[in-house]
Structures are given as C-alpha cells and as structure tokens.
Symmetry: C2
Subunit: 226 residues, 2 copies
DNA sequence: TGACACAGGATTGGATCCAAAATCTAGGCC
DNA sequence: GGCCTAGATTTTGGATCCAATCCTGTGTCA
C-alpha cells in the first residue's frame, strides 16, 4: 500500500467527506447502480485510506438516501420503485419552485448570462450523458442564489436519488422529448431574466410535472438493471 | 469503565444507529440546544461505548441537518435564523399535504380512532411540553400510512430541525393560539375521516401557513438561547 | 439426486492506539 | 496593563487489531 499515499496526495487527503463525495460521484455517474453492493475494503483501498472514513461516508450517504444498510450485511445502492420515483418527482414539483422563488431575486446579470450559456450548450449538444449534466447544471443553477441550506440539500438529494432513473429514461427514449425540454427551459429562463417569480415558478412546476408524467409512460426504466 | 458493560446491557448494545437515536432524542427534548457543542468522549462514556459509533452517529445526524461539523472542531447543534425557519415551514406547507394525500386513502378506521384519541388528549391537556409531543404525534400520525421513505424521512427531518423553535414559540406565547390549532386540527381530522383528500390537503396547508406567519410575529424565539 | 449441516473464508462492527489540529493557559514583551 | 507568542492540554481524525456475523462451498446422509 505504498502507492496509497500517492493516491492520497492526488485526492488531497481522504477525509470522510471526501470519500462521501467520491462515492456520491460514482453513484451519479452510474458506475454504482441500484442493487450494487459497496465493500468498505474496496473503497478504502481505492482511495488509499483505511476503512474508517469509508464507514463514516457510508453513514452520511445512508442519511442522504443514496445507500441503504443492513447490519453485518453492508451497504447497497437502493432500488426505487416507479411509485417512489413518481413521489420524488411530486416532491420536486413542490420544492423546486420554492427554491427558485428564493433564489430568483438574488440572481445577478452574470448568473443570467451563465444560465443562457448552459441552455445554449444543451441545445447544441447531442450527447445524452452530457445532457444529463447540463440539465442538472441549468436547474440547480437557477437555485444557486438561494442560500437556505436545508432547502438546497433537499433539492440536491432528490436529484441525486433519481439520477439513475433519469439516465435510464433519457437513454431509452427521452431523446424525442428534447425539444419540449428546451422550449420549457426557454420559458423558465425568460421568466428568470425578467425576474417574474410567478411565471418562473409556474413554468418550472409544469416542466417537472410533465417530465414526471412522461417517466410514468416508460415502465421499462424501472426494470431490473441487468 | 467496568460499569460500561452494564449500561450497554441496559440499552441493548450501542450500535451507531442507537447512538444516533439517543442524540436525536436529546436534541428533540431540548437537552441539546442550538449552539451546544457535542463531545464524542462524553456521549461515548454516557452510553458505555467507544467513540467510534458516536462518530458514525454524528455523521448521520449531520446529513440530517441536526448537527453541523467543522474539521477538528467537532459537532454542534446548528442555530437557525428566522428566515431559515420560515423557509422550512414553507417546505412543510408544500411537502406535508403531499404526504397526507399519499397516506389518507390507506388509513384504516383504527387509525382514525387513534387520531381522534390523540386530538382529544391535546384538547384535554394543559402541559406545553406534552402538547409538543402530541401535536407531532397527530400530524405524523396522519402521514403514517404513507410508506414512501424519502418523503417520510424528509418530513421528519423538517420537524426535527425546527423542534427547538417550536418549543420556544409555544413556551413564549403560543398558548393563546391553542384553540385555533385545535379548531384547525378538527377540520383536518374530519376531512381525513371523510377521506376527502382535497379538503384535508387545503386545511393542512393553511394550518401550517398560519403557524408560520404566527412564528414570524415572535422574533424573540430566534434570539440567543441563554 | 437433493437437501441439510458444518466449516472456512470473507466482511462488517467495535475498541484501542497514535497523530494532527485546535483551544487554553501562562509567561514574556512592549 | 494589555497583547502577543509558545507550550501544554484537550479533542478530533485516522489506522490497526480483534470479535461477531454472514455467505459459500463442500460433504454427508436420507
């Protein structure tokens, strides 16, 4: 484990928060899929750390709903049913307009320009994996001026726990709906730039609702991973 | 630390989940207040365990928003500003009607009877501390048939993180509003028993909104604890 | 041939030990 | 007398070791 120290240097020290970030990222990238088991020793070795920070990280992720634990059986990435994902989208429909309303008055012209740029890149882009990333960046970007921690954390959590299913949907047939998404993003963005909170909230809520309904039409997304 | 094992036996083994429950309870009972520091060794000794499960428990609570951590400085119970509590209540206004809608069709007649009983006990009761407990039991009881974990967890979290401020408000002057609370509970409960989701959601949302506005009229609740 | 039981390996849970960082205290200096 | 600095103490962070539990593979017996 001499090379460990090097890996350690790369990552800048493997604190439990860093391990949590690493694991969260693996799950978001779909390198850890629902049902996958997470072995403490594996992760520890990969990051050149001991199992202890891994255990703390797993506890954090557990509280975030990104992993589930069974005593003496270890951690897994939880599988969500279609109904659970549906409810999570309903939660998003209600929470994200609130986050947007909190953020909107505080967004600067620079922020607007950044969001315009992200949306342009979404429209230019054909790659589905890149789309997922930019779509997230667009939405969370519109909330970025909201500094209420519980709200931010909760919104991020809802995105994180459904990331796998978003990806599966987009990969499966969501491509054809891309132009609708873009049109809706444009409506939201215009309202944001006008600082019209009422419109922005309404358009956002509709956007999430329609996405949710679309998801409900693709039950295959929730089938067994392999 | 020979007596440790005995304490251990009392609590039935001090796993990290148990430590987390213990700490969560301390915070909910206001024995740990916003700003208070939590020393790992203290808790470990009190529960007759080593510091390790305490550390894991603190990580869980951190992810739940019940504690905050600074590297090498330890854990504290976070202080919330009036604005933060206000936003948390807005989150409740939106999320709890959803939880109620999910739960309502699944509540049995037994559940209804139980809720009636809880509400009766609230009305009979003068003790403020007991009121906090029963009020929580009433509301979470109406959501109890909803088995969507992310939603349940989030609602519980919102209640937990504002518990101290609810207590401060009730202790300070909320007493005079008790009859309003009871009337609103009655409206909600009747709608629940009728299985009228629309009414139930509307009454619940209004109930939380009015509570939030009331809280905003008592800025002293958010003053320094001591 | 199938099902059950036992044993060995693998994996997690918990305790103790050591290192690093922060806080507190005391002393010196301006 | 107040402020700054240096050392000691306290507290947290991380690693390693041991115990408890679970999974797996093999063997035996019906």
């Amino acid at each position: 484990m001499t090379e460990a120290k090097q890996t350690d240097a790369d990552t800048g020290g493997a604190t439990s928060a860093r391990v949590a970030t690493y694991l969260r990222d693996l799950i978001l990238r779909d390198e850890l899929k629902p049902g996958d088991r997470i072995r403490q020793e594996d992760i520890a070795a990969r990051l050149g750390a001991s199992r202890l920070p891994v255990r703390e990280a797993l506890r954090m992720l557990e509280a975030e709903g990104l992993t589930e634990h069974a005593r003496h059986k270890g951690a897994r990435v939880p599988r969500l049913s279609m109904h659970e994902v549906d409810v999570i989208y309903r939660m998003r429909e209600r929470l994200e307009p609130l986050a947007l309303a909190e953020s909107l008055p505080l967004l600067t012209d620079d922020d607007h320009a950044r969001l315009e740029d992200v949306q342009r890149r979404i429209e230019d882009n054909g790659d589905l994996d890149r789309f997922l990333e930019l779509d997230r960046e667009f939405h969370l970007g519109t909330y970025s001026a909201c500094h209420i921690d519980p709200l931010n954390a909760m919104v991020a959590r809802l995105w994180n726990s459904t990331q796998h299913y978003r990806r599966a949907y987009v990969a499966m047939g969501g491509r054809s709906r891309m132009w609708v998404v873009n049109a809706e993003h444009r409506l939201i963005l215009d309202a944001v730039v006008r600082r019209d909170s009422t419109d922005a909230e309404r358009f956002l809520e509709g956007h999430i609702r329609r996405t949710r309904i679309e998801l409900g039409h693709h039950p295959a997304v929730f089938g067994e991973p392999s």
